[in-house]
Symmetry: C2
Subunit: 365 residues, 2 copies
């Protein structure tokens, strides 16, 4: 059934890197919202090695623009928290993404064309189920820890919900069902992409919707950071290059130059249709709704849960993370809530590691 290619895919090595692999399964994969994928490919990376009992595996789940290559976006994890002489770290690129797993950029076997906008809705549950197939093939029965921030945190929690016996502990940072404001911002980001004439209803090929994607990323960047951080970093300064906004309508303030830069550097590394797909996945994460009640969603959890809210998070407000913790505790889950105090906004889980590490350590040691 599952065919597992064990040869590492190209990648720059990192000291603790075992390899970058592709898991391919040539069978239909039914999706929660209806429809199916004709087959599933998952790109994954391993750091360190599973022990003999295969019970030292930590699954590090990535966020919207991340990939299986944990060392590229959360390398600090390895320094003290998850030393690779004790743990084996696994990263898996999610369905819908553009870093090697099945997503809108891949060829739909039914049409011979890339899925494009026809890529079906994928839920966090679908993503986790695909990951469970990979773990089966790797003979990893149980995860020591599933951990992630943002959509990565959603996956970690979904693991604890959908596979209660396969997770010892799950940690989610800055993750909760999106609020109305979060849904609004994702909607507008998708509109920015769709407004770009190069998007062509999702059927772009060489001419990509660069301006729309850059704009979506710039909008998202506002919601990943905080007003306080922007004030400290940019204030009302003019951009260092180009005309002054004070004397020229084409001039920019410094913060605008920063956003444009964040947008443009995203273009070489991300795909617009993947952006559309993953933000929809993110929108639809709402376990109590999917399961009918908080009780049905959370009471099945057996893992110890650690939830971290970020004080300045505008996209996933700390109060929403705290409310989820309370809901879990209400139905008997062993769940602890902690708050990361930071001006970095949602991005604090990536940008301000030391304070986060302090919060996570007691849950891992």
């Amino acid at each position: 059934m599952a065919s597992l290619s064990s040869a590492p895919v190209k990648r720059p090595p990192c000291p603790t890197y075992t390899g970058d692999f592709v898991f391919a399964r040539q069978q239909p994969f039914a999706l929660e919202a209806g429809g199916q994928l004709r087959d599933v490919t998952l790109r994954y990376a391993m750091y360190g090695t599973p022990n003999a009992a295969r019970d030292n595996v930590v699954f590090v789940c990535h966020a919207l623009s991340g990939s299986a290559e944990v060392h590229e976006w959360w390398s600090q994890l390895f320094d003290h928290l998850l030393p690779l002489d004790r743990y084996c770290v696994l990263g898996v690129n999610i369905l819908g993404s553009c870093y090697g797993s099945t997503g809108p950029g891949q060829v739909n076997p039914e049409t011979g064309e890339p899925y494009g906008a026809a890529f079906p809705l994928v839920s966090i549950s679908d993503i986790v189920r695909s990951q469970a197939l990979l773990l089966d093939s790797l003979r990893i029965q149980r995860l020591k820890l599933a951990i992630g921030g943002s959509i990565g945190g959603m996956q970690a929690l979904q693991w604890a919900m959908d596979y209660p016996d396969r997770v010892e502990r799950a940690i989610a940072v800055g993750a909760a069902p999106l609020s109305a404001m979060g849904l609004a911002l994702n909607h507008l980001q998708r509109q920015a992409i769709e407004l770009d004439p190069a998007w062509q209803g999702g059927a772009y090929t060489d001419q990509k919707p660069r301006r729309g994607l850059a704009m979506a990323r710039a909008m998202a960047t506002c919601s990943y950071k905080s007003a306080q951080l922007f004030d400290e970093r940019f204030g009302r300064r003019e951009n260092r290059t180009g005309p002054s906004p004070l004397t020229d309508p084409t001039g920019r303030f410094d913060v605008a130059g920063y956003l444009d830069y964040q947008g443009s550097r995203f273009l070489d590394r991300f795909d617009a249709n993947s952006y559309l797909s993953i933000t929809r996945t993110m929108d639809n994460f709402d376990p109590p709704r999917s399961c009918g009640s908080e009780e049905a969603a959370y009471a099945r959890i057996r893992a110890k849960i650690g939830l971290v809210g970020i004080s300045s998070d505008w996209l996933f407000p700390a109060k929403d993370v705290h409310a989820m913790a309370t809901a879990m505790q209400r139905v008997g889950v062993d769940c602890e809530y902690r708050e990361q105090t930071s001006a970095h906004g949602h991005d604090a889980f990536l940008a301000e590691w030391p304070t986060l590490e302090e919060l996570l350590k007691p849950w891992i040691d």
Copy 2:
């Protein structure tokens, strides 16, 4: 010099409405950022009548999408706060707007074509100076009160700064120099318009950049409201029409439907190039910077100043309004700060009148 047309322009009457007029001045009008307008037209409206001493005039300054027609957007003012048997209320459409005053949609006498994107940068100081010309022509030497919210508040304060002897009191609600986040959001809104192929570098005629303008308005709407309000009003509900976002990639959540609606209803009443122009005017309001120091900006004020911050304002955070009040007090201005407690965000000055009226009343009685 100034030619003043006294014939009212078409408009549905309101009980207290004296008329809607056009002030036209066929002389070059130099602009603070450089360049000039070849002539200036201002559309204005009056409610009630100036008394014999002409010292009962209240100037109500409008915000981004407002107009001279105060009764259309702040009619509650007339109910108790500014009874028209005592006061005469004046509204003036600002330079850059699309409601009858000189703006990007008007013909540039130098080219015979609409200004479009060539419309020069206009500052709040420019706007106020044009209004002072109108007041001269109306033989109104001194304003009893200048009042406004958002960009309207900027104008009221600029009046107190630039014409210290002509303003008895100025009140600004939800106004301050924009923070970095505010500058960021305005930048992205302009990009949305410019991303629309129908914008055509500002030279659109019949085919207007509707999608871009709608998107800009929808983005702005997020910043005019609050996350709390969105949660209360929309939560994670699905939109009442169309497919469900849970099962269809084209589906929308309720908040997305609301934003789309806010965007689309804006199209019939606003112009994209005016939007670009006025948001730039808004960006550049920064009296201490324009004047070289807080002292130079504020110490000349002789009017009594009332500043209101809105507790949930994300675009002009209450702390920024409070900081401006403190700066004014520091240089000896008779300035009082009050805070409107509201979940309505920036829009509270329009949306939650009763609580605002309570705060304003002691300043006016």
